[in-house]
């Protein structure tokens, strides 16, 4: 047994004697004068998904990338979803707990509901993407004899606008639920910390002027309406500090 492994086991044993004082076999018990229960190696660090975590097929990925590129286009004014690599963000999210709808209430019965009752799809996000992408391409094949990703930008904008306005509907999923979700996810991927795969090199933060994961602005309280030029910082530092 190597040293670090032994140290890890020791810490578990120590933790066991210090904290699990008595009482139930499961669930944790604290208190009885033991103080705040700090333990080594228990930091609740963010889970960002590994770089090879993937849900989308190559074709799906191309379609999602095409949608994202119209929702947040790359243009003369600055970078868009493509430069921010939003599709990688979405792919990782769909491959993880979010895609599985692990924290959402997904028990039936399912009903459409009124507009004020919120998301009511029987499909968790990953499944909603997969099924909706099929229907999206079926629609585009019917109307343009071409899948979404091969349409012109004008045609793509037109299709997305009609999805948004509920003029295009799908047979088995809610086209509007899908549109709302991918728009939300695209904005998330554009602006989230780069540890999640999007907002690559903090392009979105630089574009709008958000300084990122800083935590002390006391020196700037008296800005008086002047612009503050602060380069952004991510949870993993700044470009050049570490590899992404």
């Amino acid at each position: 047994m190597n040293v670090s492994r032994r140290r890890f086991l020791n810490s578990l044993l120590l933790a066991g004697t210090a904290l699990a004082v008595s009482g139930p076999a499961f669930g944790r018990e604290y208190g009885r004068g033991a103080g705040m229960p700090w333990q080594p190696m228990t930091g609740d660090v963010p889970h960002h998904g590994t770089r090879d975590e993937r849900f989308l097929t190559a074709e799906e990925r191309a379609t999602v990338a095409a949608i994202c590129a119209r929702l947040i286009p790359s243009d003369d004014d600055g970078p868009g979803a493509t430069e921010a690599d939003v599709v990688t963000f979405i792919d990782r999210q769909l491959a993880g707990f979010y895609g599985r709808g692990q924290h959402w209430y997904m028990k039936g019965p399912f009903a459409e509901g009124s507009a004020t009752q919120g998301f009511q799809s029987e499909h968790a996000p990953a499944e909603l993407y997969r099924r909706s992408l099929v229907e999206l391409d079926q629609h585009c094949e019917r109307e343009f004899a071409s899948p979404f990703r091969s349409l012109t930008e004008e045609q793509q904008d037109d299709v997305l606008t009609r999805l948004d306005e509920e003029e295009i509907t799908f047979q088995r999923t809610s086209a509007k639920a899908f549109f709302d979700l991918i728009l939300e996810n695209t904005i998330e991927g554009f602006f989230a910390d780069p540890i999640y795969g999007g907002n690559r090199n903090m392009v979105a933060w630089q574009y709008v002027g958000f300084p990122g994961a800083r935590y002390d602005y006391r020196d700037y309280l008296n800005h008086g309406g002047a612009r503050l030029e602060l380069a952004p910082v991510s949870l993993m530092g700044r470009p050049g500090w570490s590899r992404q």
Binding site: G23, P24, A25, F26, G27, R28, E29, Y30, G31, R32, G33, G35, M36, P37, W38, Q39, T42, G43, P46, P73, D75, D77, G78, G80, F97, Y98, H103, W104, K107, P109, A111, G113, A115, T116, Q117, G118, D164, L183, T186, E188, F191, A192, D193, Y207, V208, G209, F210, A213, R214, Y215, D216, Y217, R218, Y220, L221, N222, H223, G225, L228, L235
Partner: protein, 586 residues
């Protein structure tokens, strides 16, 4: 298969702000206290240090510290003619989970309700005549003057930064001239205002209003509270609401109470343990303890002399209904009490877009703001207006977290090149003026158990039936134009008004101020607890939280929630222990 645990003096259900307050007071009085919390342990160095606390995706959009909807959510409908459907993902509000509860991820805006808010029915009827039949507004049964020492104590525990407006009847320039009489100043000076607050303050004064700095649980300086807990100066990082503070700068149970409480021999906390019901004695006259299940599914019976229900208001209501304590409210007849008078908050706002000036709202804090109270409560004459209550108007600079906050002016599309450009042009140049409106109780807004949907243990979900009322609509229609006037006076290029119109919608986040359902009052015929927050049916059951509010005032609830918990703890220690029975005779 139920495992019977050794008796305790007090069992507390849920371990957020009020659970911690009760545990601290009752252990100090010598009682043995056990808190049962369904979520995990949570503390600053392990769960939200400054090296990764500022993670917008994780904590807000992926609900890092909220109740897991997959295990238990609630169902919702606007009215009784609809079928309620589950809130499959959180939207309008974000119930907390774990040690510290929502007290970990609140903003820290810490108000006292007005004296007239506690006597909303009698005060308004005396001044304006009878309320409409379907307005089920009631008096609290406890007055502002009785709560004042407890407001004061909580403000010292939480290190509130603010400017008093009325200390012992002496009006103080720069404070809130409408506030109830205070026995003392705030323990800390106000936070440092920024550009947006300066503009709001000037515009409000121009209109003859009385702006003051928002009372804040973000520290304006280093502070040591009466329990000896040390808090650090706020760094204005802009990650308060929905986030834990990595810097020990925001009052929470973790920063103000737990380090002391966890040193006491007579306190025990069980985490990952979810209470399924409150148990009654054989003769049904007392609570005998609670039944809970741990994360491995093992069921436990925890006997106790006193049960304190201190979970989130929606959960407190649900536990009473599941435990068949008290008569469920029936909106058809107006009879019954449990689930009655569910209220919320009526919000509207005006965003201000500047041309050449920068608001830099990333320099912000959860309770950094300037406020006017001229249109709150009964601070203005309601004669002929057709509604009661009001709300404060404020310019808070809480954040510029870009997934959540990227306002664009009227007429800009919601995606595409024009949207993207507008986001960039305005991102550093906007602020907003908000109306935080009261929500008055109405006969048809209530909580009960859902007939169809169940939680992870197979128990019925809570069902919410709620919509904005006529009072809400008249209130917001009257005061939103004042919001607009202030916003126009702030020197921006243009404003965008977000009216409160249409039905209540559970999708967009509004506020986590869900109130009522376990209301306090003067009679068992129309309330769940007496004025000491003691259940009318089971005298050894006490209830905390905003569920006690008979209706919601135009303020954030935490200050009043905490004062009620201290008031109730005081009654338990100084009255109940000597004579364990009903503290109010019926």
């Amino acid at each position: 298969m139920t495992r019977r645990m050794p008796d305790v003096d007090v069992v507390i259900v849920g371990f957020g702000w009020t659970g911690a307050i009760m545990a601290e007071k009752l252990t100090a009085a010598g009682l043995g206290v056990l808190a049962v919390e369904r979520g995990p342990w949570r503390d600053t160095p392990t769960h939200f240090p400054t090296t990764f606390a500022q993670d917008e995706l994780r904590y807000y959009w992926r609900h890092g510290m909220f109740q897991e909807a997959s295990r238990e959510t609630l169902t919702f409908r606007n009215n009784r003619s609809q079928t309620a459907l589950p809130m499959r993902r959180w939207g309008s509000f974000l119930p907390g989970n774990g040690v510290g509860g929502a007290g970990v991820h609140w903003n820290g805006q810490t108000f006292r309700f007005l004296p007239s808010d506690f006597v909303a029915r009698s005060h308004n009827e005396e001044r304006y005549g009878p309320l409409p039949d379907d307005m089920t507004v009631q008096d609290y049964g406890v007055t502002y003057d009785e709560l004042e020492p407890h407001f004061d104590y909580f403000e010292r525990i939480a290190g509130i930064s603010g400017q008093a407006g009325n200390v012992k009847g002496n009006l103080i320039e720069g404070g809130n001239p409408f506030e109830g009489v205070r026995s003392d100043h705030y323990p800390n000076p106000p936070m440092q205002m920024t550009f947006s607050q300066d503009r709001f303050t000037a515009a409000a004064r121009e209109l003859g209003l009385s702006p003051f700095p928002g009372p804040s649980a973000n520290m304006s300086r280093a502070y040591t509270n009466p329990l000896g807990m040390q808090l650090a100066p706020c760094t204005y990082c802009g990650f308060c609401e929905k986030y834990g503070c990595g810097n020990y700068s925001k009052a929470s149970p973790q920063t103000t109470i737990l380090p002391e409480l966890m040193r006491r021999q007579n306190f025990v906390l069980r985490t990952n343990s979810e209470v399924l019901s409150i148990e009654k004695s054989r003769d049904g006259t007392r609570a005998s303890g609670v039944r809970y299940v741990d994360s491995q599914g093992e069921e436990h019976l925890q006997p106790a002399q006193i049960v304190i229900l201190a979970a989130y208001p929606l959960q407190n209501t649900r536990l009473l209904l599941l435990s068949q304590i008290g008569q469920p409210y029936n909106p058809a007849t107006g009879e019954g009490v449990v689930g009655k008078n569910y209220c919320y908050q009526v919000m509207s706002s005006a965003e201000v877009f500047f041309e050449d000036e920068y608001t830099n709202e990333f320099v912000g804090a959860g309770a950094l703001g300037a406020v006017v109270d001229d249109y709150n409560g009964d601070n203005f004459d309601h004669s002929g207006l057709g509604f009661i209550g009001g709300g404060y108007i404020a310019c808070w600079t809480t954040n510029a977290r870009p997934i959540e906050s990227h306002p664009v002016p009227d007429g800009v599309p919601e995606w595409g090149s024009k949207w993207k450009r507008a986001v960039r042009e305005n991102f550093l140049k906007t602020t907003s003026v908000g109306l935080h409106g009261a929500s008055m109780a109405h006969r048809t807004n209530y909580l009960d158990l859902d007939p169809t949907y169940t939680d992870a243990w197979g128990q019925p979900l809570l069902r919410m039936t709620y919509d904005f009322t006529l009072n809400d609509r008249l209130l917001t229609a009257h005061i939103t134009p004042i919001v607009e006037q202030i916003a126009r006076g702030m020197g921006g290029r243009e404003i965008k008004v977000n009216h409160r119109r249409g039905s209540y919608d559970v999708k967009p986040y509004q506020t986590t101020h869900n109130t009522g359902g376990t209301i306090m009052g003067v009679s068992p015929a129309n309330s769940v607890t007496n004025r000491y927050c003691q259940n009318w049916d089971l005298p050894n059951l006490f209830i905390t939280g905003a569920g006690l509010f008979p209706q919601n005032a135009g303020y954030n609830p935490t200050g009043t929630v905490a004062a009620l918990a201290y008031w109730s703890a005081d009654a338990i220690i100084n009255q109940y222990l000597a004579a364990p029975g009903p503290l109010v005779q019926t």
